[in-house]
């Protein structure tokens, strides 16, 4: 009998990266500040704004404070890995390329159900939205597949496709385990060995220990700083403040210290920074047609 190949978590990540490298993607690395999703990485948010071709693949550490479950839920955690692919303009064969990537890491398409569940994707703090799908394998959501239509409040003229794999869940299918804590990271250690304590402690931090007063003032400070930097023509440092605000907002929300109406307002404040970033970037980098679009806003 043929010996079954062992797919570790780290191997799954490696082979996916190699796969997309072969598709012509630049291999980028995670951002250096806390983000809720790879979309926040400037390699996505800023690079998708103009018309220039851009193909990139990078791992992102996604922090979702509200999703923490003190390591008690098998598929929900407050921090996980995403692998994000951006291809601009979206290639016509992208669907097949994506499905073959699953095959590449050991998921046989004839042995599973791959379902594309209709989804309008929105990132209200980034003024971004797109149309696409959640991709489910045997009922488990493992990818977000989106054609961006708008970012930073600007209608995009060349459309990028964003493919975001949830790596732990994907690996759960590959390794056929029912909890991400049981994933083999390498031959000796599991995901739980590496991250369990982190999960429990951060769940406590997010839900119980974070200091709302401190965070609220931090939010205000970063917002003011972001506005100032953008007004002085600094795209990346200004945007960095928007990213910080977004993460602080997420923790405050998990902590349960934002009311429903306050929530909408804070989202609006982060979005204002993101929109300004987008406009500033395009004013500095875009061709004339794009500038018209910016001015029309």
């Amino acid at each position: 009998m043929k010996k079954k190949k062992i797919y570790t978590f780290e191997n799954t990540i490696l082979s996916l990266k190699q796969y997309w490298q072969k598709q012509g993607c630049l291999l980028f690395e995670p951002y250096n500040s806390e983000v809720g999703a790879g979309t926040f990485n400037p390699a996505t948010f800023i690079r998708i704004l103009d018309k220039k071709p851009w193909n990139v693949c990078f791992l992102e550490v996604s922090k979702r404070p509200r999703d923490g479950r003190y390591a008690e839920n098998p598929i929900r955690v407050q921090q996980y890995y995403q692998l994000q692919i951006i291809m601009k303009p979206s290639p016509s064969e992208i669907r097949r390329t994506y499905l073959e990537s699953l095959n590449h890491i050991g998921i046989r398409l004839n042995e599973h159900e791959i379902r594309f569940v209709d989804d309008v994707w929105e990132a209200p703090t980034l003024g971004a939205y797109g149309l696409g799908w959640e991709v489910w394998i045997d009922g488990l959501e493992i990818t977000q597949f989106t054609y961006f239509q708008q970012a930073g409040g600007i209608d995009l003229s060349v459309i990028p496709v964003e493919i975001t794999y949830g790596l732990e869940r994907l690996a759960m299918i590959v390794q056929d385990v029912s909890s991400m804590f049981d994933l083999k990271w390498n031959a000796d250690l599991t995901w739980g060995d590496v991250y369990r304590q982190n999960e429990i402690e951060f769940s406590r931090y997010n839900f119980e220990k974070a200091d709302p007063k401190f965070l609220t003032s931090l939010f205000d400070t970063y917002e003011a700083e972001g506005k100032r930097l953008l007004s002085e023509g600094l795209v990346y440092p200004g945007y960095d403040c928007a990213i910080k605000c977004s993460n602080i907002f997420n923790i405050l929300e998990a902590r349960g210290s934002i009311s429903i109406s306050e929530r909408a307002k804070m989202i609006g404040r982060v979005r204002a920074l993101a929109n300004q970033t987008a406009q500033l970037y395009l004013t500095q980098n875009a061709d004339e047609n794009e500038l018209e679009a910016v001015k029309a806003k």
Binding site: I75, S90, G139, G256
Partner: protein, 683 residues
């Protein structure tokens, strides 16, 4: 005879409008064929999540030939004095290949002209379809569209292939950067290699081999049959609706079914929670009341074990989450959640959710006259109704739709009275037009009080709706409250209610603005109840905020409308009102100044009517009210015939105007009849 296949292939389509889009494509195609005189034997509408298609069988190769008339020169220039054809006519004949015997004369607008008839051969079906099909595709309309890549054509999801095969020949037009051809696409679970079609008739069979059942009716039959077979193996009854089956049908190319299960401990969860989890997880059908569910999936049979395992795992995790929230909430209890609502701001400057609940607790006293309402139950429910918004369950986005419902469960678990729990559970109903209404009286009143509070709160916090801007759903809330009032025949003035509520808010606000909003909503409501706009305007012009009463008045008007008396009442009031136009200062009637018999008569009739109106208005017998007003018509007419109102004598004139005004006011006690449009009558 030839066949035609059109298939537009795309990445998975939004299920909500797949079926309509496919039908639209077929309708437009057959419409063009008929319009272009191309005959066909049959047409089929086909769709899966990845394609919409039309298969037309038995087409003619060409359009039906057409006989057309061609106009030549006018008679006087066509023939010379001897009746011989002129050079002009000969030229016309030559150009059209006519013999002289084919030429005839025809009377036109500008005189007699020569004409010839000619049979024009029909154009090739191929050429017509090549021309028209791209136009049809570009002319399709959808609720939501997108762009992709760098092309400019829009569609609900990216178009990846088009098959346009006329017999054995593809029509190679281009759409959205795709060239139409003869290659279709199989189910990716089966293969990637495109399916080559030699001719349209191969379509359904070849696609079936590629894991695609293109006929939606066939898929629906298969789904229902498999469901039945699978369910028969187990205990319990599958819970599904036609809409669920259609949605499943729109998300599968090749239906298979498998049964999954969850831990029996989760059967303790409230049924609504269980159903919400299963529903959020796609095509899952619960075998009530067991711990099993059936999923319809769209892959190879080989995938069955993985699918079963996968769904079972996911459902376990989701139910684990739900259970986690539920247990925590029960541990915490409704009273503690209520405590926490103090820290949850409701709307800017309008205090916390707790303040809202306490306000409702006061506000519902306004409704104590509603029959069969247990005030104690109602006030207790009002106090507790927002507490579940602080429960972990409802704060989770998958479960926010369970607001109220969870409150009901937690109230019961907390040992509150059944009726309190029931009122809490129902107090968001109706959530949208056509939704169920509360069954209990307390639930009804709490719901409408809450909705009115939402409306007033929105206005006070600067969130009044305008145009498409209505983030708080103020219009929906207003409409819901009105629906509840009318459906339950609750007799209360919205204007007084708003007044009271503003006092509870201790806010200064122009209540007219809110009253206007409600009047607009009532207009909409009555329109939906099929009253005519002029009836509604007439009644609402003088209404006092009582929705049920307004509706009863509309009823009375509508009933009378078909009868001849209707115009009489309306015209009677219009005569009265017309003369008052532009006059602002009017005194009381002085009986001593009434000279003419007709004015005396009208005055007496007015008195008599006024006394009777008092009673009939009170008993809300509006048909009788209309009869009373109608009975004044003879005296009104007589008055206008015999008496000159605008006479020279200022004193007499003013007194007569006062009389007319007095009569007019009697009409206005029912409605402003001047708003009514009498069909076909001069105003």
């Amino acid at each position: 005879m030839i066949d035609f296949l059109l298939e537009i292939g795309f990445e998975e389509f939004p299920p909500a409008f797949l079926k309509n889009s496919a039908e639209d494509l077929s309708t437009k195609l057959t419409h063009i064929l008929k319009g272009k005189r191309i005959f066909f034997r049959s047409v089929r509408t086909l769709y899966t999540p990845r394609r919409i298609g039309t298969l037309v069988l038995g087409l003619t190769r060409k359009q039906k030939p057409q006989i057309i008339e061609i106009q030549g020169p006018p008679k006087k220039s066509a023939f010379d004095d001897n009746g011989k054809p002129t050079a002009m006519l000969l030229g016309f004949m030559k150009a059209n290949n006519f013999k002289l015997s084919q030429i005839f004369l025809k009377e036109m607008k500008k005189g007699e002209y020569t004409c010839g008839k000619k049979e024009v051969e029909g154009a090739r079906t191929h050429d017509i379809l090549y021309e028209e099909v791209p136009k049809i595709i570009r002319g399709l309309e959808f609720p939501k569209m997108m762009v992709w890549g760098d092309n400019k054509d829009r569609f609900p999801k990216p178009v990846r292939w088009v098959v346009a095969l006329l017999d054995r020949k593809p029509l190679r037009f281009e759409f959205a950067g795709v060239k139409a051809d003869r290659y279709s696409s199989p189910n990716p679970h089966f293969a990637f290699k495109p399916i080559r079609l030699e001719k349209p008739r191969e379509y359904m069979n070849f696609l079936r081999h590629g894991g695609v059942v293109v006929d939606p009716n066939e898929r629906r039959r298969v789904i229902l049959k498999r469901l039945k077979q699978e369910a028969a193996k187990m205990e319990g009854k599958p819970v599904y609706t036609d809409e669920m089956i259609e949605e499943i049908n729109c998300t599968t190319e090749y239906p298979e079914v498998v049964t999954g299960e969850f831990d029996e401990q989760y059967l303790d969860l409230p049924e609504e929670v269980l159903m919400t989890v299963l529903k959020a997880q796609g095509n899952l059908i619960w075998m009530k009341p067991t711990n099993k569910f059936i999923t319809v999936f769209s892959a190879k049979k080989k995938a069955l074990q993985n699918v079963k395992k996968g769904y079972t795992r996911v459902i376990a995790a989701k139910l684990c989450d739900a259970h986690f929230y539920y247990e925590n909430d029960l541990k915490q209890g409704l009273e503690r959640m209520l405590e926490q609502t103090k820290d949850m701001m409701w709307l800017k400057d309008l205090g916390s959710l707790h303040d809202k609940a306490m306000r409702l607790n006061q506000f519902v006293i306004m409704f104590k006259s509603v029959p069969e309402v247990d005030m104690e139950i109602l006030r207790r429910a009002a106090q507790l109704c927002k507490a579940d918004l602080l429960s972990e369950m409802v704060r989770e986005k998958d479960f926010t739709s369970l607001q109220g419902i969870m409150g009901g469960y937690y109230a019961k678990a907390d040992g509150k009275q059944e009726k309190v729990a029931a009122a809490i559970k129902e107090h968001y109903l109706p959530r949208y037009a056509g939704d169920a209404l509360p069954e209990t009286k307390e639930g009804t009143v709490l719901s409408l009080a809450d909705k009115i509070d939402n409306v007033v709160g929105a206005f006070l916090s600067g969130n009044r709706p305008s145009g498409s801007y209505d983030p708080l759903g103020v219009r929906r809330n207003g409409y819901g409250a009105i629906n509840l009032i009318d459906t339950n025949s609750i007799s209360i003035s919205l204007f007084e209610v708003i007044d009271k509520l503003l006092k509870l808010y201790k806010k200064d606000f122009d209540k007219k603005i809110i009253a206007e909003f409600f009047t607009e909503r009532v207009t909409r409501y009555l329109q939906d109840k099929k009253f005519r706009y002029d009836e509604i305007n007439a009644v609402l012009a003088t209404w006092s905020g009582d929705v049920t009463d307004a509706r009863m008045r509309c009823d009375a008007l509508k009933k009378l409308r078909g009868k001849t008396e209707f115009a009489k009442v309306v015209i009677g009031q219009k005569r009265v009102r017309n003369i008052l136009k532009g006059i602002d200062k009017i005194d009381e009637v002085n009986g001593n100044l009434l000279k003419e018999p007709a004015e005396n008569k009208l005055h007496m009739k007015g008195h008599e009517t006024s006394a009777k109106l008092e009673m009939t208005l009170k008993s809300k017998n509006y048909s009788e009210v209309l009869n009373l007003l109608l009975a004044m018509r003879a005296d009104i007419d007589k008055f206008f015939d015999d008496v000159l109102v605008m006479c020279e004598d200022e004193v007499l004139k003013n007194n007569r105007l006062a009389l007319v005004n007095y009569i007019n006011k009697l009409f206005l006690r029912f409605a402003d009849f001047s708003q009514i449009v009498i069909d076909g009558a001069k105003q």
